[in-house]
Amino acid sequence: MVRLALLHLGVGFAVGGLMLAHKAVFIHPAVPALLGWHIHALFFGWTLQLAFGVAYWIFPRLSSWGFRHPRGRPGPAWAALVLLNIGVALAGPGALVAGRPAETAGTLAELLAALAFGLHLWPRIRPALPGG
């Protein structure tokens, strides 16, 4: 998740830089349409995904509480990773090609990613135990 967040950071900055440069000198009429990609890459692909990745790493482990997986169920966390990145791809570059339906599907995928990660993280919101 953190590596993918860094990738979205690079892409989001590059897209934003292109849009900013377009304000200084005309580059192409389609450049302002990159705004959605810029926003989704940096809000969801970078900031939110980095928060998810660091939370997965840092939050209290569950081994002391009798859970099988020390970091909780990995399935929903992996689902969140896949859904979040599909969501940014659809709402960003996808929307440039397919318009509003892709943007809607992408935002829905981002919502499902947040739900999946919430499901993963919920049991880990507890005090840390020694050796936990």
Binding site: L6, A24, T47
Partner: protein
């Protein structure tokens, strides 16, 4: 806490204060709408992203015993590029919208280049540190 982290967090707090000041001035109509992108970027880029860079530089797993955080000079270059780019942008972006003189356009291009370079530098510095801590299962 390393020096680069301290400076990133201080600069992030200054950016946050500047962002919210611009936000208040926009809300009461003392600044025109071309300042709105400056408000968003002072907040998310100068504030939030810079705060994240500072903490990640400090907390991410070390690269090695000899160079725990990697190339410090590149880290400082990223800090300067980000803040210089943000400052140029805060001046040049509304100026281009209000009165697009050629020299202001050059400033805006420079700010775009500086900000893209800063993002590349920070992503490149943090990338190799995304790994398990030494001796931990990860």
């Amino acid at each position: 806490m390393p020096a680069l982290t301290r400076w990133c967090i201080r600069a992030a707090l200054v950016n946050l204060l500047a962002a919210l000041t611009v936000g208040v001035l926009l809300a009461v109509g003392l600044l025109p709408d071309p300042f709105r992108p400056v408000f968003y970027h002072l907040f998310m880029l100068g504030g939030v992203a810079q705060f994240i860079f500072g903490v990640a530089w400090w907390m991410f797993p070390p690269l090695s015993r000899e160079r725990p955080r990697g190339n410090e000079a590149a880290g400082w270059a990223g800090f300067v590029l980000l803040n210089a780019g943000m400052l140029l942008r805060a001046v040049a972006e509304p100026a281009v919208a209000l009165s697009p003189a050629p020299w202001v356009r050059v400033l805006l291009l420079l700010s775009a280049a500086a900000l893209v370079a800063a993002g590349g530098v920070f992503a490149g510095l943090l990338w190799p540190r995304v790994k398990p801590r030494p001796g931990k299962e990860g």
